[in-house]
Amino acid sequence: MRFRTITSPHILQDTSVGQVMRRVLYAMLPGIAALLWFFGWGVLLNLLLATVVALAVEALLLLARGKPLALYLGDYSAVVTAWLLAVALPPLAPWWLTVIGVLAAIVLAKHLYGGLGYNPFNPAMIGYVVLLISFPREMSSWLVPHGLGQPAALDLLDSARAIFGGVLPAGIAPDALTGATPLDVLRTRLGLGQSVSEVRNSPVFGLVAGHGWEWVALGFLGGGLWLVYTRAADWRIPVGMIGGLVLIATVFYLADPQHYAPPWFHLWSGAAIFGAFFIATDPVTASTTPRGRLLYGAGIGVLVYVIRTFGGYPDGVAFAVLLMNIAAPTIDLYTQPRVFGARRG
């Protein structure tokens, strides 16, 4: 009698690119739900528009480059890029803003470099930065989160009209809907000479950081932890980034608590949590060695703090990630792990 012989590996795992990308999409859902609750239907419309445009552009470029359509569209990488970009856009951003951002991300940052796996920079962040430096006014008109006395939440139809037609319902001025984000407020008021404790009295702040924003961050934290648990994202990058950000923020906070916001505020504000788990962990553009990933993450964390505190923009996750993307190959070079059995040093 013959037994069937099977060679190793004996424990099989379905870890295709598509699988990992789908997990990233699922993991974003809690954070997106929080965004929807606080900022209205515009978030959903942005996501839909970005997804449709990203898939269309990806398909066109694949055709132009003579690549198989089904294989590359089925890996969901274009959808992930579209979602990462869409949640970073103001919820009532005009449609052309989303389209230009997606074009920059897919064409400029991804396919001009050779497609998925060859891009040195995070495509979603390239799209975001292109928009941020080209259209500062549109990119800074964030809505006031739900529950801070904005007139009335726009329904789906009104949001669509605002995004695609640029018209708001009668009786609602654009200024009534938009407002400064907590990081904007902190930055402006500190610039005016107020102390951190005075700034904290502003109504835009909630329990820990910005009202509404802290729940969004919590949603992304939950999804991000699940990503780390399923090994779709390496724990070292978020740990490195959060560690770097908290460490430098603590040092400055302890030195002068009246002029530097506390570390928990920095952690729960802006895109810190979202960036740590969803942006920095992009396996293509991040560092690949274990020690390198810790360093890469820490570099992003420190840069985020430096840009927020001393730079020209209220938040700096996108710039920090792109800067560390450039550094990733060098970090990899100097953090090669020792081959098992090779001599130390």
């Binding site: 400029l108 292109v130 430096i133 080209s134 259209f135 500062p136």
Partner: protein, 233 residues
């Protein structure tokens, strides 16, 4: 067509060996000053003037200068020419001079100027060197104006904006073309990244043209090649 035929020199300078698109010399002024057509045209013409004068001067003294010291001599000649051009622009085009600023004296460091001196003017007669200077300068101006037009059109929705800097206040304002009414502006194209992205696109476009021309030449009937061969023999 021999290597130093006038037509060959001219075609080389403007297209085949274009400093901006092929040799990629003088990228610093090309990238920095191509944010509008007028800036590009102004710097391009100034560079062309410098190239013409330095090529002629170096060709004139090429038999008096020992090859061992030629590079310092080139540098001094070019520095003199650039200073003269700078003073002339300061005197006659003060507004453009202010806009172009540091990039006028920096023509002295433009590698295409010393490159043509070393590669061409030091080895050829005055007339040919003059043609080479004009052709290379035209090629550089072409690159500057094309990139400037691309960046200005995308970035501001105009062409030849602020034309009064170059063409005077009577003629200048009429030259400006508004491509789109009420254009929001796409700042990226005006900022430095736009220069790199735009130059990359233009180089790609030139390569497409050249590849197409090559294919067409290869597909041409053999009769012409026979005639050419007969001519060469």
């Amino acid at each position: 067509m021999s290597e130093t035929d006038y037509r060959h020199i001219f075609k080389n300078g403007v297209w085949t060996q274009n400093t901006g698109f092929v040799a990629l010399l003088g990228l610093c002024p090309l990238l920095a000053m191509s944010n509008s057509v007028v800036n590009g045209l102004g710097l391009g013409l100034a560079t062309m003037l410098v190239l013409l004068m330095s090529n002629v001067a170096i060709s004139l003294i090429r038999n008096l200068v020992r090859p061992e010291v030629r590079i310092p001599v080139f540098v001094m000649v070019i520095a003199c020419v650039v200073t003269a051009v700078e003073l002339a622009m300061h005197a006659f085009l003060p507004a453009l001079y202010t806009v172009l600023g540091i990039f006028i004296p920096l023509i002295v460091t433009n590698c295409c100027v010393i490159g043509r001196a070393e590669a061409f003017a030091f080895k050829h007669g005055v007339a040919k060197s003059a043609v080479d200077g004009i052709a290379t300068g035209l090629g550089f101006t072409l690159a500057l104006v094309l990139l400037g037009a691309l960046r200005e059109a995308v970035g501001q929705g105009t062409l030849l904006g602020q034309a009064d800097l170059l063409f005077g206040t009577t003629l200048g304002p009429h030259l400006t073309v508004h491509l789109v009414d009420d254009y929001r502006g796409f700042l990226l194209a005006i900022l430095p990244p736009g220069a790199f992205i735009g130059l990359g696109c233009l180089i790609a476009l030139k390569n497409v043209f050249d590849a197409r021309a090559k294919r067409r030449a290869a597909a041409r009937p053999a009769v012409t090649t026979l005639v050419e061969e007969a001519g060469r023999a």
